[in-house]
């Protein structure tokens, strides 16, 4: 039986996004794509993802140069036999830096509630907090089956 028939795609995305701590953030600069691993959290309406980065990084520089990003999240493990069980999504959207936040502000709280160890990291003045306004998700299962979903 196919999962799709039973569970709405929205719930599958939410479950995957909540279950995974890390994802790959795809940025670009001067036509060169770049990928970075990040710790993230999704808002419950799935319209936003939030993450933080040190400012002295290529990732930050790219985000300043170009707001268009993609976030790839998956639940793969090491075994080839997992291939057909892997679920993944690519969320695309625009990243926007949140200025003047503190740990009590809603975006910071969203991230810390999921990734509590990031408290000290977020408090550093050299850390930048970003939210991605997500336009749509590309959800993948059974290795090659892809469906698109827009958070509304």
């Amino acid at each position: 039986m196919n999962d799709y028939d039973e569970i709405p795609i929205r719930d599958k995305i939410l479950e995957l996004g909540e279950g995974q701590l890390f994802g790959i953030l795809c940025t670009q600069s001067n036509e060169q794509p770049y990928g970075s691993m990040i710790g993230f959290a999704l808002s419950s309406d799935l319209k936003n993802a939030v993450f933080a980065t040190p400012k002295a990084t290529r990732k930050y520089q790219n985000l300043i140069n170009c707001h268009n990003v993609a976030l790839v999240v998956n639940n793969r493990e090491k075994h080839p036999s997992d291939l057909m069980k892997i679920q993944a999504f690519t969320a695309t959207g625009k990243a926007e830096e949140i200025f003047n936040y503190d740990l009590q502000s809603s975006w910071a709280k969203l991230l810390i509630n999921k990734q509590s160890y990031l408290g000290a990291f977020l408090e550093s003045p050299t850390t930048a907090l970003f939210r991605i306004k997500i336009t749509r998700y590309f959800y993948v299962c059974s290795f090659q089956e892809v469906r698109e979903w827009k958070p509304e």
């Binding site: 600069s29 001067n30 036509e31 060169q32 770049y34 040190p54 400012k55 002295a56 990084t57 290529r58 930050y60 520089q61 790219n62 509590s116 160890y117 990291f121 550093s124 003045p125 050299t126 850390t127």
Partner: protein, 760 residues
């Protein structure tokens, strides 16, 4: 979720007091009770409770981050100490889950006949025949009151991650991530005598004898080596005392032995009975005598006991010296050793070495080398252990105040009159003088003659020029003081006093920056006078009754802090004085055709040079050559560094050009605003630190010299960056993020990819 019955296990329930739940100590105590031995009543807080505590407070992921920063084997113990301090602080700040606190309170009311408790560590695998964590984890005795009891539990749990325990795990190749700790809480029996007993001689199990030791009070003082015990050796074959040694203790009332023959034999029989019931040669802690004899703990005699050189546990134990020992050490270092070391430096500087003949010079080299070696040994044996006074203060402060920032105690150490700060103040006043005096500035600039790598510095000429300009005399007097009082130190085989140009260079760079600063005044953070000082916070936390204790610990911390810096400089002076005579010997031998021109002399060449002067050789002598490190292999293996991770050791962020400092020559070209990349900031280098916009060091730790200076001068600093000196190259753009402990190398560009596909 955890069930209440999983939290507490009474020691009487032997079938539940298994090692995995109750730890080694708990399991042994429970078995002793089952065999009918008298053991203080108590219970065990299970390993499951520990896990629940760390999971609820998410301490496990924080520990992973703390210890995952770099491989354990690459961490120096200073770094491990820092990690241990931060982990300990997490435990102290974390709330005790209600379900555990309630269970402890319930037991507390059941055991109401006891006015105080002993809270002991009991980790699974802690006391097996191959391992001994004895003393590495914490135990706290005489704890009264439920709040204090819960605090003590947190402290004992956190000691699973103490620096000494981490080092031992590292050595024994144990995965810290898999460790857990149970806690034994027993009624505390005051009084004595107390002691230890070994059913077989731990120094040599083949000897058919047992050993018993006793002290008048509690066992802590015996274990910590504060009090010398009475010691009996008993033949296992004849069951008779074959040797007795009375401990040398200051108490005048303590004239006889602490146990009479009957009491000793009763104790001996108990120890043998334990060996027989437990089926291992036993190491027993006991208290009371005769009918009151109580067994506090029993474990197998391990290969880690004193006398066995296979592991370093005993050395790790010295990392946690007790307050009394530290006080004794501080008095000795402050009143005796430092004055002696200072005198030695003075005495050596009085010797007129110019007039010595070859033989006398050879003798002098030998003498100076042997004096230096003697002081280096004292340095390792006594000065380094004294540095723990600061750590003791840190732990005491954090236990009592539980501050948000585990390094808050460091501000208790500020405003110390250290030699290095005095020197830096002098340099800074000379730079101010220069910035405000154009004529002086020009004379100094000219004295560098364009190239500061030229060693032929004409001090006499500079003096003449300075004497005739306004402010010049004052400046020269300060320079004289700087060279004579503060510069007899060596760095990698070169004397700072032979390189006064470095000072002029630093002063000019600082003067330039002072001029620039006037135009663009930086905002200075004013300290808020309303804030409660850490000193008052500590006094408030300990309460009036313990003011004296707290003052004593602050005083000890400050003293050890100050001495730790001064001793480095004073020993550096002896190194510099040895180097002086080595250079003199080198010149003589070259002139006599017995030595080829050389680059530099280090103290390893001292015996060869002395021998050549005392017994002139027929042929030219060879000096050992230091092979330069092959960096290309390291660089090709490691790849080009883009972002290196270390420890945040001085807050702030700075970008600048990397300047690698490996030796004294590298200091000479150091420019204002460059990022100092070095192995470790030596006392000899501190005068260039004010020029640096950021600091990156291989050696890690919040309390090491470089980190302290960086914070004093508000310079962003990241330390503990492995291979920083070798991986980063001179001239690269480096960003030092002293908040996060990250060093970014190079611009964040992607030009390479563009060029790779650029032709089509």
């Amino acid at each position: 979720m955890i069930k209440p019955e999983e939290i507490v296990i009474p020691l009487t329930e032997t079938d539940r007091c298994l090692e995995k739940n109750a730890g080694g100590k708990g399991a042994s105590l429970s078995r002793l009770i089952a065999h009918g031995f008298k053991v203080p009543a108590g219970y065990c807080l299970s390993t499951r409770a520990y896990r629940y505590f760390i999971e609820t407070n998410e301490i496990d992921s924080a520990i992973n981050i703390e210890l995952g920063r770099k491989p354990l084997e690459k961490m120096r113990w200073e770094e491990l100490w820092d990690s241990a301090l931060r982990i300990r602080s997490m435990f102290l700040k974390s709330g005790m889950p209600d379900i555990i606190a309630e269970a402890v309170k319930r037991q507390h009311s059941i055991m109401e006949e006891f006015s105080s408790f002993a809270v002991r560590s009991s980790a699974p695998g802690e006391d097996s025949a191959g391992l001994s964590f004895a003393g590495l984890h914490e135990s706290i005795t005489d704890v009264s009151g439920i709040v204090e009891l819960i605090d003590a539990i947190r402290i004992v749990w956190s000691s699973l991650w103490s620096d000494a325990a981490l080092l031992y795990r590292k050595e024994m190749n144990l995965d810290p991530g898999r460790s857990a700790m149970a806690v034994i809480i027993q009624g505390f029996q005051k009084g004595g005598p107390s002691g230890v007993g070994f059913s077989r001689d731990p120094r040599d199990a083949q000897l058919d004898q047992s050993i018993i030791e006793a002290v008048p009070g509690s066992n802590d003082e015996l274990v910590d080596g504060i009090i010398e015990p009475d010691r009996w050796i008993i033949s296992r074959r004849t069951k008779s005392i074959i040797d007795f040694n009375k401990g040398n203790r200051p108490d005048p009332d303590d004239s006889g032995s602490l146990l009479n023959t009957n009491e000793i034999m009763h104790l001996y029989n108990e120890i043998l009975a334990i060996e027989s019931k437990m089926s291992w040669p036993a190491d027993v802690e006991w208290t009371g005598k005769g009918a009151k004899l109580t067994i506090l703990q029993a474990r197998p005699i391990t290969s880690g006991e004193p006398g066995n050189k296979e592991d370093q546990r005993n050395w790790y134990l010295t990392l946690r010296p007790k307050l009394q020992n530290l006080k004794r050490l501080a008095a000795r270092v402050n009143d005796e050793l430092i004055p002696r070391l200072k005198n030695e430096g003075e005495r050596q500087s009085q010797v007129d070495t110019e007039k010595l003949n070859d033989r006398e010079l050879g003798e002098l080299i030998r003498q100076r080398l042997s004096t230096l070696e003697k002081w280096r040994k004292i340095y390792y044996d006594e000065f380094i252990p004294l540095a723990h006074g600061v750590r003791q203060l840190g732990i005491y402060y954090n236990n009592e105040v539980k501050p948000e920032n585990p390094y808050e105690f460091m501000s208790l150490l500020e405003d110390q009159e250290m030699i290095a700060s005095k020197r830096n103040q002098l340099i800074s006043s000379m730079a101010d003088l220069t910035a405000g005096n154009e004529e002086l500035y020009e004379v100094l600039r000219a004295s560098l003659q364009g190239s500061i790598s030229d060693d032929n510095f004409d001090r006499a000429n500079l003096k003449n020029e300075l004497m005739i300009i306004p402010g010049g005399t004052d400046f020269y007097n300060s320079l004289d003081k700087l060279i004579n009082e503060f510069s007899h130190v060596s760095f990698k085989g070169e004397n700072l006093s032979d390189n006064p140009k470095i000072y002029i260079h630093v002063i000019l760079e600082l003067a330039d920056s002072a001029k620039a600063e006037k135009q663009n005044q930086l905002s200075v953070t004013e300290s808020d006078s309303d804030t409660i000082t850490p000193e008052n916070k500590l006094f408030e936390a300990v309460g009036k009754d313990r003011y004296e204790e707290a003052s004593g610990i602050i005083e000890l911390g400050r003293l050890s802090w100050k001495l730790r810096d001064d001793d480095n400089i004073l020993i550096g002076r002896l190194e510099s004085q040895l180097l002086d005579v080595l250079n003199m010997a080198g010149k003589k031998l070259v002139a006599a055709g017995k030595l080829n021109q050389y680059e530099k002399l280090s103290d390893t060449t001292a015996p060869i040079l002395a021998e050549a002067l005392l017994n002139p050789p027929d042929e030219i002598i060879e000096l050992p050559r230091e092979e330069p490190k092959d960096l290309s292999e390291l660089k090709s293996k490691a790849g080009k560094p883009r972002q290196l991770v270390g420890q945040p050791a001085g807050p702030g962020v700075a970008s600048g050009t990397a300047r690698i400092v490996r030796n004294i020559k590298d200091l000479k070209g150091f420019k204002f605003g460059e990022v100092l990349i070095c192995d470790a900031i030596q006392p000899t280098m501190t005068h260039i630190v004010p020029l640096a916009s950021g600091i990156v060091e291989r050696r890690g730790g919040m309390l090491i010299h470089g980190a302290i200076i960086a914070r004093e001068l508000n310079i962003p600093c990241v330390n503990g960056v492995a291979d920083a000196v070798d991986l980063i190259s001179n001239g690269e753009l480096v960003t030092v993020d002293g908040f996060l402990g990250i060093v970014t190398v190079g611009e964040p560009e992607l030009d390479l990819e563009k060029r790779a596909g650029g032709s089509d």
